[in-house]
């Protein structure tokens, strides 16, 4: 693809930087693909173990939905939402989180690498560190959670009595992907935080696993301050709450305007950019254990 900007001076410099950035991105993706591929081959050496751990991942993920089913065995609605609607929120929250977890879920091991000094090995390799850390121990078994999210979404769609439009149908894959992007940003920001607080990797779970659990329930269940926090501070509401409000024809949380349902891709991009800044700051502050 030819770049139309072909002038002298700053434009050339900017153009060069952009090409460099694009090259670096391509390089990172290539490294990620190679490392992830290696881990997949290594996983496939023990196929039974792979099948069992994937099933385990599926069941562990399904446990939360079992809790919701048990609740609905005693009540007809929760926070004014009926079972198929809650299942819709659950399915898309789990699917988004599952995709992020599959892609870069092993990043919470970074604290350990900082502690035992093995991060140094990654620093001397000729590939972007973020790509290496993200693909480290790539776990294909995490497809279990993705599958579970997909199944519950299917269950929800079968039970929902909605007037479907092409826009609503299009919004669903957009939700899943932007939601995955937002959760990826949380993973990367969490990893960046671990440069500072090596032992405290568990804090990240509050936002990743805690975040997906929160989004599995309707926003009407939670206190307004909490909803405000996950909309304006950590914009998890854009993963499913806001787009789902449009699809389900429900009032928007916090009385937000209707266009916010379509803002998820933009929010995901901003989140990823901010997480990238945090990651670079974290990596710059890294000091080897020296042992």
């Amino acid at each position: 693809m030819a770049d139309p900007v072909d002038a002298t001076g700053p434009a050339v410099r900017a153009g060069l930087t952009r090409t460099e950035q694009r090259g670096r991105l391509r390089e990172g993706l290539r490294a990620y693909r190679l490392i992830a591929g290696m881990w997949i081959r290594s996983t496939m050496a023990y196929r039974t173990s792979f099948a069992l751990t994937t099933l385990g991942n599926f069941v562990a993920s399904a446990l939360d939905f079992v809790a919701i089913l048990l609740m609905f065995s005693r009540v007809d609605a929760l926070g004014g939402y009926r079972l198929p609607e809650v299942a819709f929120l659950y399915g898309l929250s789990t699917l988004s989180f599952g995709l992020a977890d599959l892609a870069i879920g092993s990043m919470d091991r970074l604290g350990r690498r900082v502690r035992d000094g093995t991060l140094d090995t990654l620093l001397v390799r000729p590939a972007p560190v973020l790509a290496q850390v993200a693909a480290d121990r790539f776990a294909l078994r995490r497809l279990g959670r993705v599958t579970q999210g997909l199944l519950v979404t299917g269950y929800a769609l079968a039970g929902l009595d909605l007037h479907w439009t092409p826009l609503k149908l299009l919004l669903m894959p957009v939700m899943a992907l932007s939601g995955g992007g937002i959760f990826c940003a949380v993973f990367v920001a969490g990893a960046a935080f671990q440069f500072a607080a090596q032992d405290a990797s568990e804090v990240q779970n509050a936002f990743t696993y805690g975040g997906t659990t929160l989004l599995q329930y309707p926003p009407t269940v939670f206190a307004t301050e909490l909803v405000r926090g996950v909309t304006y501070v950590l914009p998890l509401a854009f993963v499913n709450w806001l787009p789902a409000a449009y699809v389900l024809g429900r009032p928007y949380p916090l009385g937000l305007p209707g266009w916010t349902a379509f803002a998820s891709p933009l929010v995901a991009m901003v989140c990823c950019a901010l997480a990238g800044v945090a990651w670079r700051a974290g990596l710059r502050s890294y000091r080897s254990t020296g042992s």
């Binding site: 385990g56 048990l70 609740m71």
Partner: protein, 266 residues
């Protein structure tokens, strides 16, 4: 006499070992508080829809949530007890060193786990519980006798918790890699202890079954005593019977397993 001192020292070591990682403990307190916060709103919505569900009122449901967060790491309901290390020692063969020690294997690991449990209760459990009952309308008993009766349910709960995890760990003698068993045990524990949802909310026969299983000694039984829903003596008897049965089973499996151990030379 000397033996008692030995196991007390092992327990103290277990306590100190976990107490060393202050940042990790703080992180755990934070995470448990966040999860409690999310759960408490879902429970409040549930009880708002159906007051007196399972015989609890909404204030009692709030107490139940925060008790669960306090017990999560104490009773290793989400994993993370001494069993991980024990399994690794069985897998690598280091267990042979443990068997040569002039100490009983089961009592050694039990002491280490009790030390860990007491630290997790004090270090990780108390703060989320206090935060929860202060920030939300919670039901707490006014008379000290109920608190004392509740405190009495903790030691047997710790014994039952260890009893289950010790059996899980010993499976590594046969399986070598116990990851699958650990995961199954974790799922069963989460589901059957009340962590997922209070067991008195479970419908019909399912509810009766899970309440009879050992896992209900971990969270449901102490919570029921604290909330004045169960007779303490009956609860102790239930917990004690499961603790005795599980520890005896652990001893039996241990004797079977140690007869099988082949320490590799090389």
């Amino acid at each position: 006499m000397g033996a008692g001192r030995l196991y007390a020292a092992v327990a103290a070591g277990g306590f100190r070992r976990y107490a060393t990682y202050r940042a990790a403990t703080l992180a755990g307190v934070f995470t448990n508080t966040v999860f409690g916060l999310i759960l408490v709103y879902t429970y409040l919505a549930l009880w708002d829809e159906r007051p007196h569900l399972g015989g609890y009122d909404s204030a009692q449901a709030v107490t139940f949530v925060w008790l669960g967060q306090a017990f999560l790491s104490t009773l290793a309901l989400g994993g993370g007890g001494v069993e991980d290390e024990l399994m690794e020692r069985i897998r690598t063969g280091d267990i042979a060193v443990d068997l040569y020690r002039p100490a009983d294997l089961q009592l050694w690991w039990l002491s280490a786990d009790l030390g860990r449990a007491v630290f997790q209760l004090v270090g990780r459990g108390v703060v989320p519980f206090l935060f929860g009952v202060l920030c939300f309308p919670a039901a707490l008993p006014a008379d000290p006798a109920t608190w004392l009766a509740f405190a009495g349910t903790l030691p047997p709960a710790m014994l039952v918790s260890f009893g289950i995890r010790y059996l899980v760990a010993l499976s590594a003698f046969w399986l070598l890699d116990g990851a699958g068993v650990v995961q199954m045990a974790w799922l069963a524990g989460f589901f059957c202890s009340g962590m997922l949802l209070p067991l008195n909310v479970f419908p019909g026969v399912l509810g009766e079954t899970v309440r009879a299983l050992p896992w209900s000694s971990l969270l449901q039984a102490p919570a029921d005593v604290l909330l004045g829903h169960a007779d303490p003596l009956g609860t102790y008897a239930f917990q004690g019977a499961w603790a005795a049965a599980l520890l005896a089973a652990g001893r039996l499996v241990q004797s079977l397993a140690t007869r099988r151990v082949v320490v590799q030379g090389g």
